[in-house]
């Protein structure tokens, strides 16, 4: 139905707090919701669904395997590889799996037919339907693995068209974030009114604008810091869709695995209102 990405640039601004609040509020209003945790290097939203029984399956990527009996060490594969995942010397062929982006190009350009593709596990997808009707899926990247985008793509494939997907993005604005917001209908950028929040908001705004996903801002802990984030949004004509004041009770509840909507039920209405605003904007954008 609609894919809402919750991102930030800066870590620790409240992406998971907001994603959970939005998901649970929608679910309580009998809307079909899927929670997609794309922060595959450190997924944690599932900790809030204590009763859920997760099913897991492996996610694999294809990497080249060179048959040394057929290889004539011509270097065509290494010349083709944009990521330097292959090194060829007389009588030696090296493959650096962790550099490989699984494009399959080396196999195509090999004149000897010496390259085949083999599967390599990079992580897992865990899925459950939680008692309150939220379907949650999260990716878990293997420790030491550098390529998270293929796993993020796989987690996003769990989204069913009929559902509202709330996608919890990884912090930062590099490849994992770009992969997460691609094909999203809307990106909600969670920030805080501090110089750090503003700095990272600006880089996130640049990326989201470049990808062309409509976006708005949620200011968390809105009564701390300064007014620079609001001034930035007003100057750039970026809509501020919701504010959450600093509240120790919310933080204490969160640290005990209790979502914001349970800590303070008034937020259920506010998140429904947030969803309405986003829905409206996506509609306007699509028209």
């Amino acid at each position: 139905m609609i894919k809402i990405v919750v991102g930030s640039g800066k870590g620790g601004t409240g992406k998971t707090t907001v994603s959970l609040g939005l998901s649970l509020s929608l679910a309580e209003n009998k809307m079909p919701v899927q929670y997609i945790d794309c922060d595959v290097e450190e997924p944690n939203a599932h900790l809030f669904f204590k009763e859920a029984e997760f099913q897991k399956r492996d996610v694999e990527v294809l990497v080249p395997e060179i048959d040394k009996a057929q290889c004539n060490f011509c270097e065509e594969c290494a010349k083709f590889c944009a990521y330097n995942a292959l090194a060829i010397f007389p009588n030696t062929a090296l493959v650096f799996n962790e550099m490989c982006h699984s494009c399959g190009g080396c196999k195509i350009v090999c004149p000897q037919g010496a390259i085949s593709e083999v599967k390599r596990k990079i992580g897992e997808i865990h899925t459950a339907i939680a008692n309150n009707k939220v379907q949650i899926s999260y990716g878990k990247l293997n420790v030491g693995e550098t390529q998270s985008p293929p796993l993020i793509r796989a987690v996003k494939k769990e989204i069913a068209d009929k559902n509202i997907a709330i996608i919890d993005a990884p912090p930062g604005t590099a490849c994992p974030f770009v992969e997460t917001i691609r094909h999203g209908d809307f990106c909600l950028l969670v920030t805080e009114p501090t110089p750090f929040g503003l700095h990272d908001l600006k880089t996130a705004v640049e990326v989201v604008s470049l990808i062309g996903v409509p976006f708005g801002v949620l200011i968390n802990r809105s009564d701390i810091g300064d007014s620079s984030v609001e001034e930035f949004c007003s100057n750039e004509k970026i809509p501020v869709l919701m504010k959450i004041p600093n509240d120790r009770n919310i933080a204490v509840a969160y640290s005990n695995g209790m979502p914001i909507t349970e800590a303070d039920p008034k937020y259920k209405l506010e998140f429904m209102e947030l969803h309405r605003k986003i829905y409206e904007r996506v509609g306007n954008h699509k028209r």
Binding site: Y83, N84, A85, A87, I88, F89, T92, L94, F96, M99
Partner: protein, 119 residues
Amino acid sequence: MKVAITSSGKSPDSEVDQRFGRASYFAIYDTENDTFSFADNAQNFNAANGAGIQSAQNVASAGAQVLITGNCGPKAFRTLSAAGIKVVIGATGTVKEAATKFKNGEMSYATDANVEGHW
């Protein structure tokens, strides 16, 4: 024999570049006739990743049998070893000084990388 030395400039008086994969230049020192030639490494200087692997291949195609540098990461070391290139780590001073030390047999070969990638 040809010896590759990572160099911060295009002269034998340039300092040894402490980085291998993203070294500014490679000096190719010919021990037979005591001459230096220089190869630009700009392609890898700006690489996002895999600079060590690519630089190792460049050093190999330059015909060097030994590499002298400041530091060397694991992927670069693995690639250099596969190419049969011996590695000297911890070189300091100018390229010329490093070359002289090597010629006088005052350097020893490393058995493993001494830094992590992207140090």
